[in-house]
Amino acid sequence: MQIYLPIAEMSIPVETIFLLGGFVGFISGVFGVGGGFLTTPLLIFMGIPSAVAVGTQGSQLVASGVSGVMAYWRRGHVDFMVGSVMLAGGILGSVVGIIFFQFIKYLGQIDLIISLLYIVLLGSIGMMMLFESAFSMFKKKTVKSEFNRFKSPSLIHKLPYKMRFPRSKLYISVLVPGGIGFVSGFLVSTMGVGGGFLLVPAMIYILGMPPLLVAGTSLFQIIFTSAFATIMHATVSNSVDILLAFFLILGGVIGAQIGVVASKKVTGARARIILALLVLGVCSQIAMQLFLLPSDLFVMVVK
């Protein structure tokens, strides 16, 4: 059944959006990631204008973030104080991201910049995840603890504006969580990804947070940053399509439930290897479009 999207101003089979939402929801349920890195490029492949794809994806990130953070909150695995400082950085990152997004749109190089950002981000994260998972398959299992075995770099401790974060047992400059939040906010507003796969390692290795609190805290921050990015996209560029978001979320809700059931069969390093291959698959698809001779050398932009 065809559905006309009022903001994208195009007709598209509703089943396609629903299935895409369901697929991303399934991935989210199995691997515990937001799935923004899949939704935005797939929406663009389907012909949705990149501005609408990025703008709309923010609201889906809010939905997946809330469902995730509720589970962590019940177990007490969210550090709201660190999350709030990250959020302040995230909001600033969103504003900068929106300005950057409008600028590259004006230059006519939006596809190039977004593609390059995706290649760098997905390529590096995918490779890191693949190697880490492959090595950990041969190692003994470790339990996520309230203590971080990794020490953050010494330069981090020399930064000013230090603050105490009792829940994470940290005494660190607010610029560090604020900076990590800034990167996340920038990614949400320019690429439509929450950046959980980037935030989590940064919070462990740079911030030195206990791994047990990392996922819940990053999701807490992503909810508000994504909500803010959605407001910015809706008010600055009118590029949030609520009908598209509705069907993506609806598919995502069902897909996530199936994913949670399936996740019991795919766990640990094996699951991370599959996710890494998925991330690298999307990355190589985007890279091919950028580095190989395109099937169409001309692009039309209507304003």
């Binding site: 007709s11 939905a63 190039l112 809706a234 692009v299 039309m300 209507v302």
Partner: protein
Amino acid sequence: MLLSAFLTMPLCAQANHNDLAVAIASNHIDITVGFDGSTIELFGDRRDQDTNVAIVVEGPKKDVTIWQKAKVMGTWVNRYYVKFTDMPIYYSYAISTDEVGEHLQNVMLENGIGHEALFKKIKHKSSKKLKNDRNFYNEFVRKSSELGVFFEEPVKLKFINNNFFRASFKVPASAPTGEYKIHSYLIKDNKISDYKLDSLVVKQVGLNAFINNSAYDYSLIYAAVCIFLALFSGWFVSVLRVKT
């Protein structure tokens, strides 16, 4: 609606004592949630059968930039461009004859009938070091044709009798919203002897219009509703997870 336009047409023509009379079956196309394309139907009457009729349907005008990719440092990037200002982003035309001779072709070119004439009429600006602007226009035509909003070949006017005719112009699901202008020309002795201008509006209605208007007129409230929808869905999923 079609029948009424059909029945009133000869009366309109006689009442106005014009050489050409044209009526559109409907002056609006409504885009609903399930919109999958439509047609612009029009009927016309000419007094003299030794004349030619040409009809041009122009969609809303926007600025269109055609970029050509080139390899820069190993990557294919948008390198050269031609920007066409006030370009109709829907264009279709009909002509009453299959044989377009040199004289008729000249009349069409002078009066903006057909895509060759459109290229001459449209202002354009190009990037430096670009020699062939025409190639970019051809690419615009190709890309718009693929989207179904630009028709290179003229639509055939269907004559019901010697003078009374009908034309149908396809409007695809991807058609832009806005005002469409319908220019009707009567060509006699290689000159325009009569001209009519009609218009119709392609617009979103119902839920679509409500969403579109809200997004532009009340963007902050619209964003809040989007976020509320997302928050509610996220909460609903978490409740489902606890129960399962």
